[in-house]
């Protein structure tokens, strides 16, 4: 968690959705197109009241589906506008086709996504199945632990997406209900600081620049398609240093420092949990408790899942004896969740690999109490003492 130097009295009590809507007001995008979906609805609902009150200059387009929302934002971005939308779950799934159009066309769109389970069965609560299903759509993915991080990440995402070396859309996640509808202290920046940080939008090849005509959405068969994908790949490689460079700049204006991931008590840790988003807070609490009891426990909270910081993760975790990888999504590969698969692959080249176990947890909003995280650390300590990792994939907090 990014540490604040300010006192709580300088903060505002905001829900996650309020914090993201506030960031969008300060960004003042040229175009916002959206369709409501629980639990992300409030973001655009609040933003639309800013629009109605004349607090933003945005062209607000209320469309008939998320597929249309993403299409409208793509059109706006092609025209040369700074464009945003927000969604969740089924809405993101319905956008799936257009996500690839946005990223393949290299439009620097920024989209807050409130993580929610996918149907069926119908569920409105948090898990990461929705955005994990979009992990190969060519977007940058940044996950936030709490409302503060959601706010900070959306502002930084504008700079990341629009960076000359990147030009790739970015989705910024917060956990549904737990964060989106939970009120916490949020330290916001003033409007001028945000606006000078993001700067004016400079579209690279705007369709509306009639003096310099360009083709948009051309057919691209065996002749050039591969080269375009190769360039997209290269852009994703360049994202990591750009994220760090922008985080450095953001720390100067906010006092809050971000990385590709956060290492908590990891330097001398013998056991560690790797986790994404809100459950990281509860994990940090458990790490503190275990440290007080003399246990060398640590945590690594992943912020950037796409691009996947494999080398950096391997470096940060190489000394740990046993690692629990927490997935709030089951990719139903029968081999564990997506984070587990990628993290194990990242550790493969280490001369001495930590023992790893996967925990699928919190699906459909199942609560993750302190006792559950403590049980994970207990399993890790058993792994260290026996030298055996045990079952590769385990389920936390489920009734068998």
């Amino acid at each position: 968690m990014a540490v604040n130097k300010q006192s709580a009295a300088e903060s505002q009590a905001m829900t996650g959705n309020e914090a993201l809507a506030e960031a969008m007001r300060q960004i003042n995008p040229d175009v916002v197109a959206a369709y409501p979906i629980t639990p992300a609805t409030e973001i655009v609902q609040i933003f639309s009241s800013f629009h109605a009150d004349g607090l933003v200059d945005t062209e607000l387009v209320l469309v008939e589906s998320e597929h249309s929302a993403m299409s409208a934002v793509i059109g706006a971005s092609a025209a040369g506008a700074r464009a945003m939308t927000a969604t969740s779950s089924q809405g993101l799934a319905l956008m799936h086709e257009m996500l690839y159009i946005a990223s393949g066309s290299r439009y620097p769109i920024v989209m807050p996504v409130v993580n929610r389970a996918l149907s069926a069965p119908l569920n409105i609560h948090c898990d990461h199945s929705d955005t994990m299903g979009s992990r190969d759509a060519g977007w940058v993915q940044i996950y936030s632990e709490n409302a503060q991080e959601g706010y900070d990440n959306v502002i930084q995402a504008i700079r990341i997406a629009e960076h000359n070396e990147v030009q790739v859309p970015v989705m910024v996640m917060i956990d549904g209900f737990i964060i989106s509808h939970g009120m916490e202290n949020v330290f916001t920046l003033d409007d001028q600081t945000v606006r000078s940080f993001i700067g004016p939008f400079k579209p690279r090849f705007p369709l509306l620049d009639v003096d310099n005509p360009v083709s948009v959405g051309p057919v691209d068969f065996t002749d050039f398609y591969f080269e375009h994908k190769r360039q997209h790949h290269e852009a994703m490689v360049k994202v990591k240093p750009v994220i760090l460079e922008i985080a450095e700049e953001y720390a100067k204006i906010s006092g809050r420092k971000y990385g590709l991931f956060e290492e908590y008590m990891l330097d001398d840790a013998e056991v560690a949990v790797v986790v994404i988003s809100s459950a990281a807070g509860t994990t940090r609490y458990v790490v503190d408790k275990l440290r007080r009891a003399g246990v060398k426990a640590g945590m690594l909270k992943l912020r950037v899942f796409r691009p996947f910081p494999a080398e950096e993760l391997a470096e940060a975790l190489q000394h740990v004896k046993a690692i629990a990888v927490m997935d709030r999504a089951d990719s139903l590969s029968a081999q564990g969740g997506p984070l587990f698969a990628e993290l194990r692959s990242a550790l493969f080249d280490l001369p001495k690999r930590p023992l790893t176990t996967n925990y699928i947890y919190g699906l459909g909003g199942r609560d993750v109490p302190v006792a559950d995280i403590e049980s994970v650390f207990n399993d890790l300590l058993t792994t260290v003492s026996t030298g055996v990792a045990g079952p590769k994939v385990r389920f936390l907090g489920v009734r068998e």
Partner: protein, 212 residues
């Protein structure tokens, strides 16, 4: 104005098994009575007074009259936990007719407190609701009556906020009123009578809440 504290000392609670790092609160009400808003207002009021806060409702099928639960965590330092609250030190009940569906005292640790919206005295309420656990303190305030007399509507959430702050020893009266006023001013710019009524309701309940 000096008001006698109603609550036991923080140190005493710290040894009772309850978390001493932050205060946890659970709100019970029926859909439409403002339990969720009470938790959000509690969060806003406490953050306005320089505290770290969380406020979150338990989301289920939302309909008028159905049982609603909402929560707060309040602390002097940043709050990291993002899980449900199982052992709230304070429970505030906006509607005691929920008693046949809901166990208000569930999970309250020793030394914790139950604040009830009722015209009964704490002793009468304890007997009526059959709260046998003597380690839980019972407080009562007639929040529905206060809201009718001050706001003109039977919406007991703001008076309960006042009473809870006294019972929990959280904010003192003046900072609480200042914080509530400033939060309401943002929401009801064009309805000053709503602001005054609510501030009066918070103040009356703060002063009128009774302990055992």
């Amino acid at each position: 104005m000096t008001v006698q504290p109603l609550t036991v000392e923080r140190e005493e609670l710290a040894t009772s098994g309850a978390s001493s790092e932050f205060i946890e609160i659970r709100w019970h009400g029926r859909g439409g009575q403002g339990a969720k808003t009470a938790a959000l207002l509690m969060g806003e009021a406490a953050s306005g007074a320089g505290k770290y806060v969380q406020a979150f409702p338990e989301y289920g099928p939302e309909r008028m009259g159905a049982p609603v639960v909402a929560y707060n965590r309040i602390s002097d330092g940043p709050i990291m936990l993002h899980c449900g609250i199982e052992n709230p030190r304070f429970v505030a009940v906006l509607d005691i007719s929920l008693a046949n569906q809901v166990d208000f005292a569930a999970g309250i640790p020793e030394g914790g407190a139950l604040l009830l919206n009722t015209s009964l005295t704490p002793a009468q309420a304890r007997e009526k609701l059959n709260i046998t656990n003597k380690s839980i303190r019972v407080y009562t305030v007639d929040a529905s009556l206060i809201s009718k007399e001050t706001i003109g509507l039977p919406i007991p959430n703001t008076p309960m906020l006042g009473a809870l702050n006294r019972v929990a020893g959280l904010l003192e009266l003046e900072p609480l009123l200042a914080s509530v006023r400033s939060k309401l001013q943002k929401k009801f710019r064009n309805k000053p009578e709503v602001i005054d009524g609510n501030v009066e309701a918070v103040k009356r309940a703060y002063l009128e809440v009774q302990g055992e």
